[in-house]
Symmetry: C2
Subunit: 349 residues, 2 copies
């Protein structure tokens, strides 16, 4: 008799009702050999009828893997949320579930999150590190436990792990080259804190482009400021008050570009005539402001997918993959803020 029990049915219930052993049911359920076709059918039928769901907890305990990926990100802004979506996409496909934790750019919070995910809940980590983080003991602790880590987007040099990053140098190069080709001569860069890897790479691209075009970099035009809108605004004000002010600005994030734009407008300067502006990330917002801001796009979704793929590879391959580094290419989107010459091929954007 099928009781009106409330608890979810287990393998044991099925075994009892079918008068077979739990071993048999277990085997039947996961298509293992050594089970009669009739028996299997019966098991399948009953499990269907009872709406049996295997208990993942018990399974995880037994085979010491949870099929869960811990994802730690500094925040969930447009770019990172998109990357997370990419991770999710691939993970789901491969039978993994992801747990997303935000560190809120806080070192302490990152540690808490790590600890929390660590105690037997996840099979490994996919991480983009907080900007505050300068030591990596909490991550090294993960590796000591033989758990794989894949890094993405913000990848510190001091931590050895397979990683997926954007070719930030190329992005900086593209942006700067574009400005040069538009005839801008004194190009300033608004970079982030000096310890931030992605910032330095983008600046390197900037310098390379200048060199290529034989423009001598002017240290007064290289500004390090905090990675946000307000500081970019202040920094731009200063830039515009110089005797020989820059005629273009490349900011290493769109947030900063917005800040710069506010200062530019306040000063009464016109883009792209008086001054050119290029940002980074190609967030939707750059399309909404007037003028639209040229920006370097990251393939965020792809990058997330790649990170998840790499993670699953790492999990399955046993060989050391800590040297693997996938590099994706950015793409410049040109808008009104920097387009002061007619494009050669006649089309805008």
């Amino acid at each position: 008799m099928i009781g009106h029990m409330n608890k979810p049915p287990t393998i044991k219930d099925i075994a009892k009702q079918l008068n077979v052993s739990i071993s048999t049911v277990s085997r039947a359920m996961r298509n293992a050999p050594d089970v009669n076709i009739e028996t299997r059918k019966a098991v399948m039928a009953l499990s269907e009828q009872l709406n049996y769901q295997p208990n993942r907890l018990a399974l995880s305990l037994k085979q010491k893997q949870t099929h869960t990926i811990g994802v730690i990100v500094p925040n969930l802004d447009y770019v990172l949320a998109t990357m997370v979506r990419g991770i999710d996409e691939v993970a789901l496909e491969a039978g993994y579930t992801v747990m997303v934790c935000q560190s809120n750019e806080s070192f302490g919070r990152e540690i808490v999150n790590t600890r929390r995910l660590l105690d037997s809940l996840v099979d490994g980590f996919i991480i983009s590190v907080s900007s505050e983080t300068k030591v990596f003991d909490h991550f090294k602790k993960i590796q000591e436990k033989q758990m794989p880590i894949v890094l993405f987007d913000r990848v510190p040099a001091d931590l050895k792990a397979p990683s997926v990053i954007l070719d930030n140098m190329d992005g900086g190069y593209q942006a700067t080259e574009h400005l040069l080709e538009q005839g801008y001569k004194r190009i300033a860069i608004l970079a982030g804190p000096k310890n931030l890897g992605i910032s330095n790479s983008r600046m390197e691209g900037y310098l390379n482009a200048l060199k290529k075009y034989k423009v001598k970099p002017d240290p007064h035009l290289i500004i390090h400021c905090d990675f946000n809108q307000h500081y970019a605004y202040l920094a731009t004000q200063e830039l515009l008050n110089m005797k020989k002010r820059p005629d273009a600005i490349f900011t290493i994030s769109d947030r900063m570009a917005i800040g710069a734009m506010l200062a530019i407008k306040e000063k009464g300067l016109k883009m792209p005539q008086d001054i050119g502006l290029v940002g980074f990330n190609n967030e939707p917002v750059v399309n909404l402001v007037t003028p639209g801001i040229s920006s370097v796009e990251q393939p965020a979704f792809e990058l997330g997918k790649m990170a998840a793929k790499l993670f699953i590879q790492t999990l399955h391959n046993n060989d050391d993959m800590s040297e693997v580094e996938e590099v994706l290419k950015p793409k410049l989107f040109i808008r009104e803020s920097s387009q002061r010459m007619l494009p050669k091929n006649g089309r805008l954007r």
Copy 2:
């Protein structure tokens, strides 16, 4: 001797090394009574030294709860990401971990996510439903398993569960009243699909305000269109081409406001002189465009926190809470897009 084993230490290892039973260690570890102070100290010391971490999996299996909350959201835009942060905040405090899944506004994806989280991984759900979703069997299945659900933000009427929502009617009222007080006479509303609860409530507020100010609503000024920028752009174009065009527009989201703004600018109309505009959500972007767009702010972070609190209450209280509905108040932020009279008290914004 402390071996150089690689596996994480268990309660059993500690027991063996201390020559006590595992029961005793277990008791000592969780400050249960019936254990000598000396014994407890010894256990604590050794567990510290071995860096013992209790296995949450085993614990969960035993006591049938995972201390994990499944969060399903349609996407991770600014507002929802903020809400999720609020949930996270409270959950962490209470010893819970959250698993965030994006349904990408897709009904099918929502079902997949639900199934995935359901099989013994989470203790319950906090959900904001996808805009595509019109039947709720997958959620009812959760409730049949006695698992609690808390709904937030987008709450369908057909699903009985405790919920946290914004007072959308009040938001619509505030926005419309503000426009009326600014002297606008023909106020249009860009609403969402007719089956979307939040849209209808905001429109109700709009109608209430008109009534209060004795303005007869004009059906031509009430537009239902898809919840995104492009359709809002198209709808606004139509509005502006009417013989008697509206002199103000209230859109029920900022995305739509942006769309409207593009159409307005194209038409060569000036805000706030020729036409007023008010959005909803107070996303950062409304501050970045020119002119800044007035918008109704949701206390997103608070709302998330409230949802998590409610969830934990539901989990602990056994009594039926499905009637509970927390309602938070929105707040209008006035910017240039709708401010055509000097504020009475002389301050702007």
